[in-house]
Amino acid sequence: MPAMLRTLAQKLGMMAHGFHGGVHPHERKLTAGMPIEDCPLAPLYIVPLKQHIGEACTPLVAVGDKVLRGQKIARAEGYVSVPLHAPTSGTVVKIEEHPVVHPSGMSMPCVFIEADGLDEEDHSLERMTNWRDLDAAVLRERVRMCGIAGLGGAVFPTFIKLVQDKKNPIQTLVLNGIECEPYLTNDHQMMLEQAEEVLQGMAIIMHMVGAESGIIAIEDNKSDAARVMRQALAENSELAHVHVAVLPTRYPQGSEKQLIYSLTGKEVPAGKLPLHVGVICQNVGTAKAIRDAVLLGKPLTERLVTVSGDAMPRPANLRVRLGLTLRYVFAQRGLEDFENIQILHGGPMMGERLRIPDVPVIKSSIGLLAMHQDTVMQAHPAEQPCIRCGHCSQACPAALVPNLMADHCRNEQFDKAEAYNLFDCIECGACSYVCPSNIPLVQYFRYGKGQIAQLRREHDFAEASRQRFDARDARLAREKAEKAARRSRVRKELAPAPDKDTTTKVEKSTNDKAEES
């Protein structure tokens, strides 16, 4: 249906809202319906000191310290940060740099914990079974303390979103069970197996933000999950104003702003947050983690991971402790030889390609995919010139003009790229996916964003240096003036008293001379 007709139909209420653009890649949900299995414990855990968006943590433990599972091992620094916890009981053996999940393949300080095999838990956090009577701020602090960050993959510290703002009261909580990336099924499986826990988490979040209604969003390729959630809701008398919304399967339906638009017809303005339109959005996994933190006093030390990919011998939905290396997790499912295999961290659309499997699982690890090198190469053939077909603009869920933005990024005309709203790009990859010329558009946007950030950093540093330079100049001038003043005062004091007249005379004459010249 032409875009204009669709918009008209939506405006008239004849059609459900749908976000602009989007694509429908092959789903390839190999692990759909497979029960969640526990990934066995390993002898060594590597905990990177930054697993969320924001500032890195500072370690609280020293080499040789004994830790328990759930014990805080690193302190949050700054506001946008959450603490880290030991994934199992054992001994801290070293704190040093180790490669982490990052497209650069660079290293970051990590805490190495040697497990003692006992997996003893730290029970210092009490269970808040009376959460209904507790103040939102108390619960919020618990969510922060337990290190919870958005488990849908963005890992933004969750407590920051859980605020009651007088100016922007939140009406609706959207529970995101969309999982629109191909291959991934962990949210799906969680809804099937732990519907009760997810709903408890949802009730806690709604209590915290004061939301009146809730929507559980599920794509129509997961109708069994929708059925299970509906049934669980029917049994739950507490969540009366919550309903399950089944949305058409379309990528990136699960992206926060797009999902909110699809469900409510409210558009989150550029540079604003969902709470500005009275909505907050949480992933189902995050809701479950919040429930564990509040009801059980359990910090975030494990998460569900879809281990899949076309090169995976035995794909599975695993419950994995944070800090296990990818190599170990893959080995549990029969993959030990990484020859000609490309590892993806996250989904195939937005995930990062990793160079080595020796990096640890972190809070953002929604999926670990092992793909045949050939498959990846086929998906990324050589780039051809742009033929201006406009498919990318039609596919863009943020309604941008990807081909022009990419041109500007490539030619380093960053001001123009920004004028085309480069920073509204969510890097979903829909444009690259539909491009008949195989232009890696998202790569250009990432390049542009990185360069702009770097230029800004350099500019800020230059500005600070200039201020320091000017301040130093002013100080030197002042010191010089003071010195001169002191010198003349000393000279005056040293001069014998009877000569006072002559000094003034001399001064006067010099003054005259100065005036003359």
């Binding site: 010139p385 041109d407 500007h408 490539r410 030619n411 005309q413 123009k416």
Partner: protein
């Protein structure tokens, strides 16, 4: 009223000074590498052209014809244009030093912009009234501004386009200008009298 519309339409599109009369090509190519510069240049030319066509009409009617000095026409007109250009130059230097730098030599060169003198001379040749000559000057300037800004936009886009090395820079600009000119020829059938 229809006369006003006709004059404007004719000056802006049908008889566009740059693309159909081929006057003022120098600043058209020289100041079109960036849209911001092109906009600044357009406003400068708009001011000079409108003022020059009215002033030259006045001089023609009240000085040159009564005193029978028509052979001094060019000198008088150039004097008017030069004074106006100096004036706008001072003004731009004060209000927008960056634009002043960006326009560089092309700002004083408006004096020798043949489109400006062309409009002034054509005006008096066509026996326009005071109002129509002002309107014609303004229309011609708008036409100049229109194609200059369009051209600058095209050049900005082409700046990043993967064209063969042979066509880089000026050749591509000239080809683009030629194609724009062809496109503007389409306007010649716009008005049927």
């Amino acid at each position: 009223m229809s006369e006003v519309a006709l004059i404007l339409l004719s000056a802006v599109l049908v008889n566009n000074y740059v693309l159909t009369k081929f006057l003022g090509i120098c600043p058209f190519l020289g100041t079109s590498s960036k849209v911001e510069t092109a906009i600044g240049m357009s406003f400068a030319v708009m001011f000079v052209m409108t003022m020059a066509s009215t002033a030259s009409w006045l001089v023609q009617q009240y000085v040159l014809i009564p005193l029978d000095l028509l052979y001094l026409q060019t000198i008088f007109f150039i004097l008017i244009i030069a004074a106006l250009v100096q004036f706008i130059e001072l003004m731009i230097h004060k209000t927008s030093p960056v634009l002043y730098q960006a326009l560089g030599i092309f700002l004083p060169l408006i004096t020798t912009n043949c489109a400006v003198l062309g409009v002034a001379i054509l005006n008096v040749q066509q026996d326009q009234t005071f109002l129509t000559s002002a309107l014609y000057g303004f229309g011609a300037a708008v036409g100049f501004a229109l194609v200059l800004i369009l051209f600058a936009g095209l050049r900005e886009r082409l700046d990043g386009a993967p064209v063969p090395a042979l066509f880089k820079g000026s050749p591509l600009a000239l080809i683009t200008a030629g194609m724009m000119s062809l496109a503007f020829m389409g306007f010649s059938g716009l008005v049927k009298i």
